[in-house]
């Protein structure tokens, strides 16, 4: 592993671009191809690449396993709670986005952003948690 100089330097060169590309895909998903699902997978892929080249322990220092496994339900919870404000304030039904702003398009843009953030958290942490589970198993 220590001898893979080109692989290590190449990974270090590529990684920042992958990590910037993921939020770009996430936030630009309203205007071009992309969204929470794709961005989540890209983040997970970046950390998996790091884990493959630099070792699992290094990756776990960047993205601690305990944190990742707590984020898995947090994303679903964020998504599910995005529907509550409309329901509790009697201004609409579950997952109506009208309450997030005064102007229709503005409110719905916020709603979509919150929901997509829930998706990106769930997808990226689930993919990473699955990878960690398989990688841990191989070391035992």
């Amino acid at each position: 592993m220590k001898l893979d100089l080109i692989l290590r330097v190449g990974t270090k060169l590529i990684l920042p671009f992958i990590l910037i590309f993921a939020p770009y895909v996430h936030f630009h998903g309203d205007y071009g191809p992309g969204g929470g699902f794709q961005a989540g997978v890209i983040i997970a892929a970046a950390i998996i690449l790091y884990a493959i080249v630099f070792g699992l322990d290094a990756a776990k220092r960047v993205a601690p396993q305990g944190l990742i496994e707590r984020l898995v339900p947090l994303g679903v919870l964020l998504y599910a709670s995005a529907g509550l404000p409309a329901m509790l304030s009697n201004k609409g039904r579950y997952l109506d986005y009208g309450v997030f702003g005064h102007h229709f398009a503005h409110a719905h843009e916020w709603g979509i952003l919150i929901v997509e953030t829930g998706v990106i958290i769930t997808v990226s942490s689930t993919m990473l948690a699955i990878f960690y589970a398989f990688a841990d198993r191989s070391r035992r």
Partner: protein, 121 residues
């Protein structure tokens, strides 16, 4: 008289059916569980094609609204399949996790060998 027009127009359906049948064949014929899961994946991917290809309009564009275009391909199958792909990999991982546990328990991932071991006991 062969209607070439109809055959060319339906070529995507023929390939879809072929992929589906190939996936089915792998699932039935191969005893190795990892290969069977890959066969299931092939089957699943053919369904993506089955959903997406009727939504395409020749001369249309991707469903991103722009004043310059009027014809867009159908966005609904895209949404359904987009989520199905991510769910597909999550369920594939679940299946593979089961295979790993089976392999640890039995020392093999071949269905026939596992059935034989169970009958010996």
């Amino acid at each position: 008289m062969i209607e070439w027009q109809a055959i060319v127009g339906h070529y995507n359906y023929y390939v879809t059916v072929f992929l589906m049948v190939a996936g089915l064949y792998i699932v039935i014929a191969h005893g190795n569980m990892i290969k069977s899961l890959i066969g299931l994946g092939l089957f699943q991917t053919s369904v993506y094609l089955l959903y997406i290809s009727p939504g395409k309009i020749v001369g249309g564009t991707a469903p991103i609204i722009d004043p310059k275009y009027t014809d867009y391909s159908n966005p609904l199958p895209h949404v359904l399949i987009l989520t199905a792909i991510v769910v597909g990999v999550a369920t594939l991982a679940l299946g593979l996790a089961l295979v790993v546990r089976i392999s640890e328990e039995y020392g093999t991932v071949d269905e026939d060998e596992i059935v034989a071991m169970d009958q010996d006991q």
